[in-house]
Symmetry: C2
Subunit: 218 residues, 2 copies
Amino acid sequence: MKNISKEDYLSVIFKNLDEEGGIKPNIIASKLVVSNAAVTDMLKKLAKDGLVDYKPYKGIQLTAEGESYARNMVRRHRIWEVFLNEVVGMAWDKVHDEANRLEHSSSDDLINRMEEMLDYPEYDPHGDPIPSKSGRMPKLKKHRPLSDLNEGESGRVIRVNDFDQKFLVYISGIGVKLDEKITVKEKRSFDKSMEVIIKGKPWNISSKIAKNVFIEVK
Amino acid sequence: MKNISKEDYLSVIFKNLDEEGGIKPNIIASKLVVSNAAVTDMLKKLAKDGLVDYKPYKGIQLTAEGESYARNMVRRHRIWEVFLNEVVGMAWDKVHDEANRLEHSSSDDLINRMEEMLDYPEYDPHGDPIPSKSGRMPKLKKHRPLSDLNEGESGRVIRVNDFDQKFLVYISGIGVKLDEKITVKEKRSFDKSMEVIIKGKPWNISSKIAKNVFIEVK
DNA sequence: ATTTTAATTTAAGCATGCTTAAAAATAAAA
DNA sequence: TTTTATTTTTAAGCATGCTTAAATTAAAAT
């Protein structure tokens, strides 16, 4: 029987590694919305499968095999996102959830065909880089969260976090999309909210929003 | 947790109902390649879910809800097949297995979009009819197995069974495809094999092959 | 009608992945 | 350093879907 959850664990681990290449069970549990106990459980299985190095209480790291498996899952996910968006015409804010399911059920052959049809895209619809067949990850241009910009600064959106569909719906609604120019008009220190200008119109956005939109650094 | 196997059971039941709208556990088990015990088990669950009417030892029938669920699964499967074949360019003999996985992981929205892109196809790449969104099934033109044709008769392929990939690879290899003309040159009574002409070339085919290729009746 | 054969169901058990509650280890605060 | 809080792990248990072996029912053959 094919095991979907293992693939989800690997992706989440891969996408949330810290600077030393490790991750805490805590983080995995919250990203996957399962109990810490479930994470411990799965870590043992992944370790037995040779996909992670796991020393109880000590640390979690991907093995070479685990990393390449995870990287391939990320690749599948992001190619699906581009395909759904560009070929099928599915909205920006819907492709993530759909890809989340499809990524577990598609052959490498299908993924490779879609990639070819799309002419080897480097970024998904939210600006995240797509690993190549061989595992190479395109460089992300330098960027910083919108929340870091100071009053008067402006720049173009290069990436947005895609973990919450409602967030995407919301920012689409105010005109945020990749490559769109955003100018910070006012920043309020008490709640870190800001007023920004998008397509000439002013919008008030919370610091939570601003932290999940990334601006290219020139 | 989403349950893939229930969907497989429903599809298999739906596609193998007898004239009275019933089916034997036996058939289900062999189509799904599981034990009879597994079938009994699942039938109880499907009955509890209101998807089948099940009286132990007596009979199995789909409820209205079960039938509509099953019909939708068949729809998903066949739309995926057409899409993979026509849009993604995947070979005739590969789309079945790929669709078998994808059908469980796609939203109705995605299926409907693909259907629209394909301009509402009525038949899948093997000639099987595709239920519409409302559940209506296009009429299959009258047809009979190639094995029924007599010496000298000929006709066009209107459908082939798609349960075995190797079978599809084989018949593709000898030039069988939808709408292709086939003429029966010789029929051997001792093993029911036959010699047929396809694109001017003679081929010997077993009765097993001939039983799974269907010819339009004019 | 009775026996034999075949199909079906029940029973017991396994693996997967989840849960909550309790125990153990680590990290933070006093 | 000791206490307190947090994180992580273990333990026990549940649901799903599968297996094999045994029991039951139905169908076929005599």
